[in-house]
């Protein structure tokens, strides 16, 4: 059995983790494998996301190793990451990403 954890980082590149149980303010959140621990800054319901690092406003929120949205406010370590501080991508955001495709490298 692994070391006890209550949050999952779905990909090593992720700046958020999913909590596997509802955590309260100040509670320690430990992520699998890594020795990453953060303290919850608020109540975070199970299945929701917590910030593992500081995510400045305008930066990408990464889950599954992919960009799942853009921070609409500065997000501190341990913050609940949800609709109040993240927005979805616009076509413009996506186009920007599409231009990065370089098929020669694959």
């Amino acid at each position: 059995m692994n070391k006890k954890f209550n949050a999952l980082q779905l990909d090593k590149r992720d700046n958020v983790a999913v909590v596997l149980e509802t955590v309260r303010f100040g509670q320690l959140i430990s992520v699998q494998d890594e020795m990453k621990n953060v303290n919850a800054s608020t109540t975070i319901p199970y299945g929701h996301k917590v910030a593992l690092v500081f995510i400045p406003k305008g930066e990408e929120v990464i889950k599954y190793g992919e960009c799942m949205g853009i921070a609409t406010a500065d997000i501190a370590i341990g913050d609940h990451v949800h609709v109040s501080n993240v927005r979805g991508l616009t076509e413009k955001d996506k186009r920007f990403r599409k231009e990065e495709i370089n098929f020669e490298n694959i």
Binding site: L20, E66, M68, H82, G88, L89, R97, E100, I101, F103
Partner: protein, 385 residues
């Protein structure tokens, strides 16, 4: 090197089951198809309401699906029932025979009584069943497996536990030379750029973006905006923040492998590795397309609990949360909920899925097979004429 014991077919494909099926070409024969199957215990009826009075796009899709099902590696022999003068049964059977399949067709027509037709069918099926019992299995490599990836009755945990675990499995089998087919175009809307970014070349990327765009337009044409309606209030309560996140949770069943090909409904992959099939999000229709395209086994993640299966392919159910496994163990084959309450990692469940796939390929019965979940329905494109 991972291997399993399967049934080698004349066309070189390898089956993990050895089924005898009877299948109707048109809806009017549904009743007689079931009746005939009941006369020979062990024969599986593959019954549907398509095939009659359809526009060309639907007729073509029906024939493609029926041929793919009857000519599937898991099928030892297939009997087609048809009727009337323009029935496609004979033509499908001729094509399949050229490929070495053990198939036959019976056309109900005015020169024979129904009882005579049923008798002829029974005799053929009984012989086919006898022959199938003599077929021996042989050792085959995992690279010969095609695995369909599906989700149904999803919940907030689907994208966290089961789907990423399936993704780990998918990457592993692809690395071992096998094939995995991701499906359900509806569920990729919003994250299409991510899969397109992973395409092997710009042609595949464009094709993928095209099928997603078509889906959105079809929904819009009946007044629905998939992008505006997602994530739903229920999704948000469950922790999903953006449409991209929701869709990522679905498409992560395909792991991080390169997207080699985009194929139409019920078509077989021409490349090994990770491919995408254009199917609806409707589970049964999607699974039917995957299997008709050659998937010998389907992985199916479920959060609410869905019992559905396939008439000819074992469907492996992956439960997303511990409560589901506790409540409905009879419908779950792999409990990915252990990630939540027993500190298993996604990688560990991915490995567990891989060993389950190998066991099932070797004949282990899945939950949907045990309970005779043999749902079959072909994706319809237009209204019947």
């Amino acid at each position: 090197m991972k291997t399993f014991k399967g049934y080698r077919r004349a066309n070189g494909s390898i089956g993990v089951r050895n089924h005898i099926i009877v299948i109707n070409t048109v809806g009017e024969l549904a009743g007689l198809t079931k009746k005939l199957a009941n006369l020979v215990p062990g024969v599986i009826p593959v019954v549907h309401q398509a095939g009659q009075s359809q526009y060309p796009e639907d007729s073509a899709q029906t024939i493609k699906t029926l041929a793919g099902t009857a000519g599937h590696a898991n099928v030892s022999a297939a009997l087609f029932l048809g009727m009337g003068s323009n029935d496609p049964a004979d033509e499908i059977v001729e094509t399949l025979k050229k490929d070495g399949h053990h198939v036959h067709s019976i056309l109900f027509d005015k020169d024979k009584s129904i009882i005579e037709c049923l008798d002829e069918g029974r005799t053929w099926l009984e012989n086919a069943l006898e022959q199938s019992k003599k077929q021996k299995t042989e050792k085959a490599d995992v690279s010969e497996l095609i695995i369909g990836l599906e989700c149904g009755g999803s919940d907030a945990w689907s994208g966290i536990t089961a789907n990423p675990s399936i993704g780990v499995f998918s990457d592993s089998i692809v690395a071992d030379g096998g094939t995995s087919i991701l499906a359900e175009t509806t569920e990729a809307v919003g994250a299409e750029h991510i899969l397109a970014n992973r395409a092997v070349n710009s042609e595949v990327a464009d094709r993928f973006l095209e099928i997603v765009r078509r889906y959105e337009q079809r929904a819009k044409a009946v007044g629905e905006n998939i992008k505006a309606a997602n994530p739903s209030p229920g999704n948000k309560t469950g922790g999903l923040t953006t449409l991209e996140e929701k869709s990522l949770g679905c498409i992560k069943k395909g792991g991080n492998s390169t997207l080699m090909e985009v194929i139409d409904y019920a078509y077989s992959p021409t490349k090994k590795g990770f491919v995408f099939m254009d199917t609806p999000g409707y589970d049964v229709e999607s699974v039917v397309g995957l299997v008709a395209g050659g998937a010998q086994i389907v992985l199916f993640s479920t959060g609410k609990g869905s019992p559905t299966g396939s008439p000819i392919a074992p469907v492996i159910k992956i439960g997303t949360n511990p409560k589901l496994y506790k409540n409905m163990p009879e419908h779950i084959d792999v409990n990915a909920g252990k990630i939540i309450d027993q500190n298993y990692t996604i990688d560990q469940i991915g490995e567990e899925i891989y060993s389950k796939v190998m066991q099932v390929a070797n004949g282990e019965v899945t939950a949907s097979e045990k309970y005779n979940n043999q749902e079959f329905s072909i994706w319809r494109l237009a209204e019947t004429q």
